[in-house]
Symmetry: C3
Subunit: 317 residues, 3 copies
């Protein structure tokens, strides 16, 4: 019997409109080089983390600039990413707009309103690119936002309606001990979800989204390394029950350190890749390559992580 | 009609005695290279952020070492900066001493006492350098410190008296939503100043300093990007009313991120430069080049910011 | 009379199993290069900060993996360090295991239980290496943990019993104003120890450990630079009284900055080396070379610190 290799990372988010990770100020040359590094590592799909955040945009959206007071962006990143995705034979998933209000209020109505226009506009503008292969709903669900299930489902439905049924992905978080805000001083909290409650709540949520979402890739960084496999097993079981794809979103930054955030230790990433393999996840994506794994990242630890990763999979193969 | 370019940055602070930005440990070779990078970008003036902070000094001040218990510095940075400023045809502004007490107590008396000696000593020691072109009062005013208006004015007067009237600059902060301490966990606060209150309070402050200060360069990072122009307009209107120069201090670090602080996204800098142009600021300086814009900064994002900045102004011109 | 040079750094911790410093993801090539840099700077001894932390290990310990649920490490770092120490003629000190429980509960019983096995296992596995020259007790004492004196002593005794009396080192912290947690927002606190209380409490502690510990290297970063010499004098006086070696542990990271932690300013390091010289410390070690002083550190400020250090001691000599 042959030994099973850990799951390899074959997708990454693109975090250009950033919530809490400082910008690298790359131009086209650096982005092209980064896609080349990704391809070499085996990445075949890229996911725009969001097309806009508050007033900042990745593409010149008439609707968001004129109706929502967003700033006109200096470059069209969506177009650039689509061209690069095509060049490197990758699938591109478009991330919806995030006004920031949902994070503050828990209310998704405004997000739904805005994205009705954004989804249509984006598909009209960029849907003809061969690399445009799906949608990523940037509004992160968790147990605390169960009330938003119908909103998420309707957003997914809209994406599909507009694009002839292109697949829709979400990446929720587990309410584990590391589910604290980046701006908070502490690294862990006490009041965390049990496996049983996680099962019950997500059973309900998956049931509500099953027709309008194709893929669920849970963020894997909020629980401890030895707990992860148990959560991934539940996620897989529920995904199978409702006919969804169960991916994993391997966080490549380290949640255990006071600097929020720098690249993760390779050993920790490996533990998570092994857990994903055991739980039967069908694909591993990461948040995200360009800051935390890329050889040209401003965080030099990232390049060493890349080297350790490449060594590991080349030596083992 | 020709399109107006955003204001270009033509000055930078030198942050060698640091409050909250980690040191780069540069020697003379690195500082010389940095001045060369500055010159290439169009910087013609440098402002020493402070000549000393608590017990750490930029120059071997007999007064501060013997009377105030400061540490003898391993090198004379003021002399080095003056020589480099002369080499690269830049104006050098000397920043006053900051004992740290004012930040803790809000009381400026001790600062006045110390700086009476420091200003005299510094001008005697360095006033003969051709590059010595003015003074920067390092005690940052804001609405909370209105009571210090007379103190600031008397400090300015002293600088002028000692140096035959060399110009005096201050760089206050706007009490906006991002006016939180670097060591605080949060990134924004609720209790912020309105435009009207800003006008009223600074009308009073400008009136009090008009004879003893020449230039006001407000820090531009405490309000949101779309609010900035309105504040800059008020600043300009008040500066004109009282015969002061209205510059802007473009912060080149990012206040929106949990790591405090890394280089700002170029798009954000550009928004601020455009707002400064529209508001009619006559000069843009930055805090600060060496950590946040320099191609040799330890933060590699800074070099990319430099490249984006150079591209932008070369392509547009 | 010749002028006394500051004490030179001749030892460093190896912080591979990290508490609060992000990992660099180095492989064997990078570690070999790092030992070469250390040797060039005059380092002759390395101290493993801990052999394991919580579930993460530096070596494949059967006991910790099978009995304590630790993760099997991807490489044997202890072996690699011993081989490198031998190659570069350095002494290696083995750091005990830290389960994390002591930090949370203040209770040392579990640490004693675990380390009884770890110490034996480690010496059996690695004691034959010529570079294996001593032990470092990773459980950091301070005044708050006076109750643990007997525990520390018994741990030291065990190390000696197992290894034919190899020397034992500890590195306690002074309860000064910078003794705050890395994850806390603030940089300093009010409730600090006086010199007198420091003397009294450590007099008692030293008395309790004098037979089982050889060397005490206090961390030097929790008090202000001008206070340090006074504390070092007391430490030296007490060490002499009880026949212990009095080293100093020069922290090479900066505790005064909001980013926790980046390399220290050279001037600050120099103040501390001078204070150590004056107080008669017989050796200076640092926490730690690879992140904060190494020319290949991901923090580029470290390489400049290395250059400043080398310049200083070469020019002065």
């Amino acid at each position: 019997m042959s030994i099973q290799l850990p799951l390899k990372i074959s997708g990454t988010f693109l975090d250009e409109i950033s919530h809490d990770i400082p910008h690298q100020n790359w131009g086209k040359k650096e982005w092209d080089a980064d896609f080349a590094h990704m391809a070499k590592m085996g990445i075949d799909s890229v996911f725009l983390i969001r097309s806009g955040y508050k007033r900042f945009l990745t593409y010149p959206s008439n609707y968001l600039i004129e109706q929502q007071g967003c700033y006109e962006p200096p470059t069209d990143l969506v177009e650039m990413y689509l061209v690069l995705a095509e060049k490197y034979s990758m699938d591109f998933y478009f991330g919806t707009y995030d006004s920031g209000l949902y994070w503050e209020t828990g209310n998704m109505l405004h997000e739904l309103d805005c994205n009705k226009y954004v989804i249509e506009e984006a598909y009209k503008k960029y849907g003809h690119y061969k690399a445009f292969k799906g949608w990523y709903l940037s509004l992160e669900l968790s147990r605390k936002t169960k009330g938003s299930v119908e909103a998420i489902a309707s957003l997914g439905r809209q994406c599909k309606d507009v694009s002839g049924g292109l697949p829709v992905m979400i990446s929720p978080w587990i309410d584990g001990k590391k589910a604290v805000l980046a701006a908070e001083g502490k690294l862990a909290k006490q009041d965390i979800v049990s496996l049983q409650t996680h099962y019950q709540e997500w059973d309900e949520i998956f049931d509500g989204i099953k027709n309008d979402v194709d893929t669920v890739a849970f963020q894997d960084g909020h629980v401890d390394y030895h707990e992860l496999e148990h959560f991934l097993n539940i996620n897989k079981e529920l995904a199978d029950k409702y006919g969804l794809n169960s991916w994993t979103n391997i966080e490549s930054f380290d949640r255990d350190m006071p600097i929020k955030f720098l690249p993760i230790k390779f050993e920790k990433m490996l533990l998570k890749l092994k857990a994903a393999q055991k739980a039967g996840c069908s694909k591993a994506i990461t948040f995200e390559f360009s800051h935390f794994i890329s050889p040209q990242s401003a965080y030099l630890q990232a390049g060493h992580l890349y080297n350790r990763y490449m060594e590991y999979f080349n030596e083992e193969n």
